[in-house]
C-alpha cells in the first residue's frame, strides 16, 4: 500500500504501525472500557448533563481539527480526554471520545480502522482515566475553590497527553512493525508530547474556566466545590 502523508491526518495511530495481535488486544481492552463506561455513564448523566455531553463530543471533534504548531515544524492538537472527563465525568467522557474517534476513523480516514481500538485506548481510555486521576489528585492538594477547577483540569490535560504518548511507546515495543530502540522512541515521543501537552493544558484551562464562570453547576469536576460553597453560604445565612 502507498504511504499516505496527508498532513491534516493527525496524532491518531494509522493502520500498519502495530501488528495484528497487538491491535486485537487493544481492541478488546477498548471494548471492555466502553462497556464499563456505558454502565457508569448512567450515573453521571441526567436531564441537564446529557445534552452537554453531546456538546462536549462535538467540541472535541471540532478542536481536534485545529493543529497548532509546536517546535521544529511539528504540530499537535487537543486530545480532549481530560477536558471531557472534567466537564461531564470520566465514564461519559470516554463515550464522547469514542464517538469522536469512530467518526474520525470511518468517515475522515483519520486514524486507522484496524487501529481504532488502539486509538480508543490511547486517546480515549488513557487520557480520560489518566487526566481525571491527575485532576482529582490536584483538587485534593489545591485549595477547594471554584477558581482551582480549571488549573487542576489543565494539569490533568498535560499529564494525559504525556501518558498517552508513553503508552504508545509501550505498545510499539510489544507490537511495532519496524524495530525501533525503546529508549530512542520514548525520548522522541515524550519530548514532543510535553510541548503538545502544554497546548492541551492551555485549551483545557480556557474551556473549563469559561464554563465554570457561567455555570459551575454544569461542570462535573466542580460538583464537590459547588456543594461546599453552597453549604458554606447556607451556614453563613442561617447560623
Amino acid at each position: 500500500m502507498v504511504c499516505n502523508k496527508d498532513p491534516e491526518v493527525a496524532m491518531h495511530v494509522p493502520d500498519g504501525f502495530l501488528d495484528a495481535p497487538t491491535s486485537l488486544v487493544t481492541a478488546a481492552v477498548a471494548a471492555v472500557g466502553i462497556g464499563l463506561a456505558l454502565k457508569g455513564a448512567r450515573r453521571e448523566l441526567d436531564d441537564r448533563t446529557a445534552p452537554l455531553a453531546g456538546l462536549v463530543a462535538t467540541f472535541v471533534f471540532a478542536t481536534q481539527m485545529l493543529n497548532f504548531p509546536v517546535a521544529g515544524g511539528t504540530s499537535g492538537h487537543l486530545m480532549g480526554g481530560a477536558l471531557a472527563a472534567v466537564l461531564v465525568g470520566p465514564y461519559t467522557g470516554l463515550l464522547c471520545l469514542t464517538v469522536v474517534l469512530v467518526v474520525q476513523s470511518l468517515l475522515f480516514a483519520d486514524g486507522g480502522i484496524t487501529a481504532l481500538g488502539t486509538n480508543v485506548v490511547l486517546m480515549g481510555l488513557l487520557t480520560v482515566v489518566g487526566g481525571y486521576a491527575v485532576f482529582r489528585a490536584a483538587q485534593l492538594v489545591l485549595p477547594k475553590r471554584l477558581s482551582m477547577v480549571a488549573p487542576a483540569a489543565a494539569l490533568g490535560g498535560i499529564a494525559s497527553v504525556v501518558l498517552s504518548a508513553a503508552a504508545f511507546v509501550v505498545l510499539y515495543a510489544v507490537g511495532g512493525v519496524v524495530p525501533i530502540p525503546f529508549d530512542t522512541l520514548l525520548a522522541a515521543m515524550v519530548g514532543v508530547h510535553v510541548v503538545i501537552g502544554i497546548g492541551e493544558a492551555v485549551i483545557t484551562f480556557l474551556v473549563v474556566s469559561s464554563i465554570v464562570a457561567v455555570r459551575p453547576d454544569l461542570v462535573h469536576g466542580a460538583r464537590r466545590v459547588v456543594a461546599v460553597r453552597e453549604l458554606e453560604t447556607r451556614l453563613a445565612v442561617s447560623p
Binding site: 502507498v2 504511504c3 494509522p14 456538546l55 493543529n67 492538537h77
Partner: protein
Amino acid sequence: MRTVSNRTVLVVGLLVALTLAGVVSFYASGSPDGLNRVAVDLGFASAEQASAAEGGPLAGYETVGIDNGRWSGGLAGVLGCLLVLGCSWLLFGAHKRTPALARTKGE
C-alpha cells in the same frame, strides 16, 4: 442568580464548535503532528498503510467534489460536527431529555 440558561450554553457552545470546525480549521497548522514527526524521524513512517476509509466522501477532512480548500474543509468540518452531535445525542439519550432542558431554562 443564574443568568445563563442551559439552552444558551448549548447554543453558544455549538456555534463555537461549528465556527472552529467550519472556519478556523482552515488556518490550522499543516505540519506533521507529533506522532508523524517521530515516525518520519525514526524511520517507521513507511509502515503506515492507507485506511480503508481513504476513498470516502469526507476522507482527509475534504469534501469530495469541492475544489476550493476553504469550502471543502469547512463543509467537512461542519458535517463532522453535526454527525458527532447526532450520534452522541442519541447515545446519551438527550432526545428523551430535551423537554426537561426547556423546563430548567432560566432557573
